[in-house]
């Protein structure tokens, strides 16, 4: 559903911009987006301000172009990237991934594996996937479509994505290439305070108050005196989202307008 004022971004579009900003400055690396809004964001970032980013077709090819989500990549193919080559890219560090946590804590520990006890979980989720290796190898960001104290939890049940404190305990081999970059939720953007390594509120999306973010978060955030609003999309960005990358409004299934 289009926004009432077509020049004003709705919440989903604000989230796209906040996610795209996470990839600003990345240069010539593989941008892996898991989740629909991150996928829109990566295509937008490459189209407008990070032209060297590499993006896959979701199978085994790196492809050029900007195409609508939910449709096959028209190409052209730049190079071949089967799963085993992705592991090489990860371990070389030429990648920035945006994953969706089931739980995330103040230090950026993330659970996507299972809820409850590992031997007999209350809810089995995906498994660790590549999260342990990703987080200690290259820039990692997170996307949370529904911000709640259950997701932004005081403690994660299992550490799949490694947080700053867990990496520090594991030693220099774990911290050496670790770059937790950004968290974007449907309410706000976050990074980590460089000294305390606790999650820090960077900006709130238009229409969201700092109090709302605090109330929806299960741990204490680092909050500055003056929290800015997430930057508004430009007219060109809005056109690109609405007409080119997501003409069918699939983004609103993840974040309602």
């Amino acid at each position: 559903m289009p926004a009432e004022n077509p020049a004003v971004a709705d919440r989903a579009e604000a989230c796209v911009i906040a996610c795209a900003e996470a990839f600003r400055g990345d240069g010539e690396i593989l941008a892996s987006a898991i989740g629909l809004i991150p996928m829109i964001a990566v295509r937008l970032a490459r189209h407008l301000f990070e032209p060297l980013l590499l993006v896959t077709d979701g199978e085994a090819n790196i492809v050029e172009g900007t195409w609508p989500v939910g449709t096959p990549a028209p190409g052209p193919v730049e190079s071949w990237l089967p799963y085993r080559a992705i592991f090489d890219v990860i371990w070389r560090g030429d990648r920035h991934v945006m994953m969706t946590p089931s739980q995330i804590d103040a230090f950026g520990n993330v659970n996507i594996s299972a809820i409850g006890n590992h031997a007999k979980p209350r809810a089995q989720l995906l498994g660790a996937r590549g999260a342990p290796g990703n987080t200690v190898s290259h820039p990692t960001s997170y996307w949370v479509p529904r911000h709640s104290p259950r997701v932004f939890a005081p403690k994660v049940d299992l550490v799949a994505g490694v947080g700053w404190d867990s990496a520090a305990k594991a030693g220099p081999a774990a911290t050496r290439y670790m770059r937790l970059r950004r968290v974007v939720s449907n309410l706000a953007s976050f990074d980590w305070d460089p000294d305390s390594h606790r999650m820090r509120l960077l900006s709130v999306h238009p229409g969201v108050t700092v109090d709302e973010v605090v109330a929806a978060t299960g741990f204490d955030l680092v909050i500055g005196d003056d929290v800015p609003a997430t930057r508004a999309p430009t007219a060109e960005e809005l056109r690109l989202i609405r007409e080119v990358i997501d003409p069918n409004g699939m983004r609103h299934r993840e974040v309602p307008a």
Binding site: H118, P132, G133, L158
Partner: protein, 282 residues
């Protein structure tokens, strides 16, 4: 060979590696043959999809070595979830890249390979036998991912010759050659057995990823990866996968699904799939 011949070579208690990735190019006709057998107590190593769910539900799995289990277009496999949530299987959970390293170590007769992946994570917390190793040059402490030695590997390829040279024609070889190389015995099912000459008539030799020196036996299994994808021969059968997931969520419906599709042999399975696809309920 036939699927049942392959199962005849397996023994209860073995460690079996299964090729493919998620719900893509899984050796499903071989899995279905295991479901019909009296094999049990298996340790399964897999980039998991419905192979894992089905084997768990049939009580074939003692232990699963995995990084994930997913049906791709449907994120979670209900049969695997149920097995985990009821505490019916033991697991060794690794980063998915660590599984590759473990297979690579086994394939190259190394005891382990060093990696950063897993440090500081549940991989260390939940695998009490996992050890670290100090880099003798720089002094960093890394994880020593142990070799994942397999008694047998099961993979499904697009084409193979009688001798065991096997070819992928889809986008990704996954880790099928590595599963074969990590195993004492490897069994390849394929859509079609062709002459050796035919393999590279229209395709580059790089697509013949698996050499006969790795392979114990070949099974011709048309539609053998169903309902997972086997591009370019066929895509994932999304309607059937949905039917699998819906049935798996309910004991009565699962019994009916199982009776119709899994207990009538491979020919019976393929016949019922065709009937379902044609919209003619049996």
């Amino acid at each position: 060979m036939t699927e049942d011949d392959v199962v005849g070579r397996l023994r209860s208690g073995m460690t079996v590696g299964i090729g493919g990735w998620g719900s893509r190019r899984k050796p499903m006709s071989l899995i279905r043959a295991i479901l019909r057998s009296d094999l049990t107590d298996l340790t399964v190593v897999s980039y998991g999809g419905p192979d894992v769910g089905l084997l768990c539900a049939a009580g074939k799995v003692r232990k699963l070595v995995f990084g994930f289990v997913s049906l791709d277009s449907i994120p979670l496999d209900p049969l695997f979830r149920a097995a985990r949530q009821q505490g019916r299987i033991e697991v060794a959970e690794f980063d998915e890249g660590m599984v590759q390293l473990g297979l690579h170590a086994a394939a190259t007769r190394l005891p382990f390979l060093p990696t950063r992946a897993g440090l500081g994570s549940l991989v260390v917390d939940t695998n009490p036998g996992l050890r670290t190793i100090v880099d003798p040059y720089e002094g960093e402490e890394l994880i020593a991912m142990p070799a994942l030695k397999l008694d047998a590997a099961l993979v499904h390829m697009n084409r193979a010759d009688e001798k065991g040279n096997a070819q992928f024609l889809g986008p990704d070889p996954y880790f099928d050659d590595l599963f074969c190389a990590a195993a004492d015995e490897a069994f390849v099912s394929c859509e079609r057995i062709v002459s050796t000459e035919e393999l590279t008539k229209a395709a580059h030799p790089v697509t013949v990823r698996i050499s006969r020196m790795l392979v114990t036996g070949v099974v011709e299994a048309p539609h053998g990866a169903h309902f997972t994808s086997c591009v370019p021969d066929y895509d994932r059968d999304e309607a059937f996968q949905r039917a699998y997931v819906e049935a798996a969520g309910d004991p009565d419906r699962w019994a009916a699904f199982s009776e119709r599709f899994l207990e009538r042999g491979e020919a019976g399975y393929q016949r019922e799939v065709a009937v379902l696809a044609a919209g003619k309920e049996a």
